[in-house]
Symmetry: C2
Subunit: 455 residues, 2 copies
């Protein structure tokens, strides 16, 4: 531990500078306009892996963005950790809400503000630096493999193919991922579950062209109004989702399990204050921790139609659209839920409009075991580094690939995230506390140490 701290202390500024370099690439995978930047980011990551001492480093092409692979095999008889992360980031808009430029990282009050600071550049880069530390101090106790992809924010479609085609190369005993949050530095936690995802886009078409709302208003269905009616009907008065069959496969937890889950620190007044809302909203009969952890949800991620510019335009639009995603919990199946949504939405659309439902991407929910060697190693590492045993929590987000690792590679995942829920992931002013960044670099070598020892 002393040695770890010493190395981190001596390299603090460089660790930060390198992360800043990485954050300056606008590697937005969703927007084809940033293609060149995404590709440059992959090369940068590969270079840094090589510098840190990784071997067989390769920028592996896929049908989409490449996957950066690298490894260090110290002894074939020792256990192997597969580190997963992603170098792509969410779009940065709405840009006008950023206090400083999303791709020019800026420190304010001990926090790094930049798109990707926490999700996931800041977090996967901790592993690169922890690896460097173990290499340079001769303390790497097990084999390590890196797989850093560039399409996590758009569904990891090509990673799925890559994993299937590279089973041998990716052989490992555990997947280690830092792409989630902990409660706080004071209340460290480990996520033991992730929600799945079904993401769709709907388009409602009324008349075949935009119409004058005076000449035609009142006589022809307005697709924006109809879209609102359709979306409004997707939740009932108790905020239950109304899609038939939606809850059929939802795993229900026992009273005891729910009680344990609700023991995690949670202060409703602070939660509301942080979000700036007077009242919380959610499915009746469940707490906030349950609503974001063990219950499925349906959210409108975007909606648009008609005239959205300045001033007033009296148009009756031809089309209105929305992006809608559902978070899923064990044992819901993404493909099944996507189909249920599609069928339902098409069925409830009235005859005076036509609707199309397009799939974006999906992912399966997962629960990670808390009795595995890997979980125990993570627990011990955090306890030593933070001075406190981590609380097991259920994460609301999704890392669709985790279920795939389990299915294809037959290995479980440990979700050792060092972010915070308040890090504004996917939002303007995304941040990562510098303290968490260094704490992560210090904790990761301990994980490897205990994982090797316990194996």
């Amino acid at each position: 531990m002393q040695e770890i701290k010493k190395y981190v202390d001596e390299n603090k500024q460089r660790f930060l500078d390198e992360l800043f370099e990485l954050l300056r690439f606008p590697s937005i995978s969703a927007d084809p306009g940033f293609k060149g930047d995404v590709l440059k980011t992959a090369d940068f990551v590969a270079g840094k892996l090589r510098e840190a001492g990784a071997e067989k480093v390769e920028v592996c092409p896929t049908a989409g963005y490449p996957i950066v692979y690298g490894e260090k095999i110290v002894d074939a008889s020792k256990p192997t950790v597969l580190v997963y992360g992603h170098y792509d980031v969410q779009p940065a808009d709405p840009l006008e809400l950023w206090k400083t430029s999303p791709f020019e990282p800026t420190i304010r009050e001990g926090k790094i503000f930049a798109r990707g600071a926490c999700d996931d550049k800041g977090q996967f880069y901790m592993h690169v630096k922890a690896f460097e530390l173990m290499q340079k101090t001769g303390t790497l106790p097990c084999n390590i493999k890196f797989m850093i992809e560039g399409e996590e924010e758009v569904g990891s479609e090509n990673l799925g193919i890559f994993v299937k085609e590279n089973k041998e190369r990716l052989k490992a005993d555990v997947v280690l991922i830092s792409d989630t949050a902990m409660i706080s530095l004071e209340d460290p936690s480990l996520e033991t579950g992730l929600r799945g995802l079904s993401y769709l886009e709907v388009e409602v078409t009324g008349p075949n062209r935009d119409l004058h709302s005076g000449v035609y208003g009142g006589a022809v269905a307005n697709p924006a109004t109809i879209l609102c009616k359709l979306i409004a009907s997707l939740h009932d008065e108790n905020n239950h989702i109304t899609i038939p069959g939606f809850y059929d496969d939802v795993q229900s937890l026992s009273e005891a399990e729910r009680e344990k889950l609700n023991e995690a620190p949670y202060n409703e007044a602070e939660y509301k204050e942080d979000l700036g809302v007077e009242e919380l909203w959610g499915e009746q009969g469940y707490t906030t921790i349950e609503r974001t952890g063990i219950r499925p949800t349906l959210e409108v991620n975007g909606i648009w139609g008609g005239y959205t510019g300045q001033g007033a335009k009296t148009v009756l639009p031809s089309k209105a659209s929305a992006k809608i995603s559902m978070r899923l919990v064990p044992n819901q199946k993404s493909s099944n839920i996507t189909q249920l949504f599609k069928d339902h939405f098409e069925r409830i659309a009235p005859k005076y409009v036509s609707v199309t439902v397009t799939e974006h991407h999906g992912g399966e929910p997962v629960v990670t075991p808390t009795d595995s060697i890997a979980y125990k190693a993570a627990e011990k590492a955090i306890e030593q580094s933070f001075g406190k045993k981590p609380i097991p929590t259920r994460g609301g987000g999704s890392i669709p690939i985790v279920a795939l690792f389990e299915e294809v590679l037959g290995i479980k995942t440990v979700l050792m995230g060092f972010g915070l829920d308040s890090d504004n992931l996917h939002s303007p002013n995304e941040k990562f506390d510098i303290a968490n960044y260094y704490k992560g670099i210090e904790t990761i070598p301990l994980f490897h140490k205990y994982f090797a020892e316990l194996s």
Copy 2:
């Protein structure tokens, strides 16, 4: 009539060329980015009035865009016609739906395609050319005043002030406006009423920032979902508007009046085919003609919130907004309806969001008399020019200033429109039939003739 036709025939190409020049100005009053173009349009109109023989032509400044005034007083004892029109146009977007550029007028199948072709450049310019014709042929039978404004598409706020401040200058016996439609060249019609307007913008705010839809989804109200619920609730299952008091002042027509109204040519199959819809939508208990003519409506003109770019972004937006307008009928009051909407919308907003309602602009509904000298003159003019007596109809659109003319100047209006409902007003591919343009120029001098004779 022979003389009129001869003059039009001899000047056909020039009449078209001049209109094209006028249509090339992107005089979009709603978008401040086009300010320079709007101002140039005013100067162009003033120049053309002067060339046609108008006197005291002035580009009158206002707090917004100027009003172009010009007059020709032939004899103070003769009646005076005040011609009103507007040189501003609606925004042209969505641009990608235009077959040819909105500000490069193009002829296809005998129609002029351009933003403003019908609304209202093509239509008010007929009056400028008809005036030229009467001047050049020495047949102007009465006094004429022109008032062409540049803010009709954004609520005519400054025209209201101008009219109040220029009562003496604007003194006239009738207001003549071509800014409406007729059924067809085969079934000429005259509008005898216009709907009023209340235009508002609503903004629903949930959390104080965009959130990760996984981390927070299900635990905090999504303003897009709430906006949909609020909008959905504004119409009941019979498509009646649910705002309390909304229908209180609505003038109901007698069975006989409704029957007469429904005698106008209307073919539902053709109407649906033209719009490309399988089924019409509207307030139960009323026909299409009634729904667009004598019943008030509420339309979403635009809606937006969250991520609307390419691909998928799993965001729970902080805000969602909509532009909503209501068309009003006699005896509804725009200010009253605006207030009712505001009160209702604020009242129904649940506690977990905050809403703001901003007024755009409004206008009062009007009914024009069918027993006046002016109406009879218009009827005779059309009968002579088209060979058929015009059918009186009720227009669904709004020209907010008409009610003001009545109130401030104490004079009634004749709505002698030569457009068609299918001219794509406010839509991509706005058009004006060349035949209608020339027919208008031929009919207008007859109106002046009969108005002078009957007065």
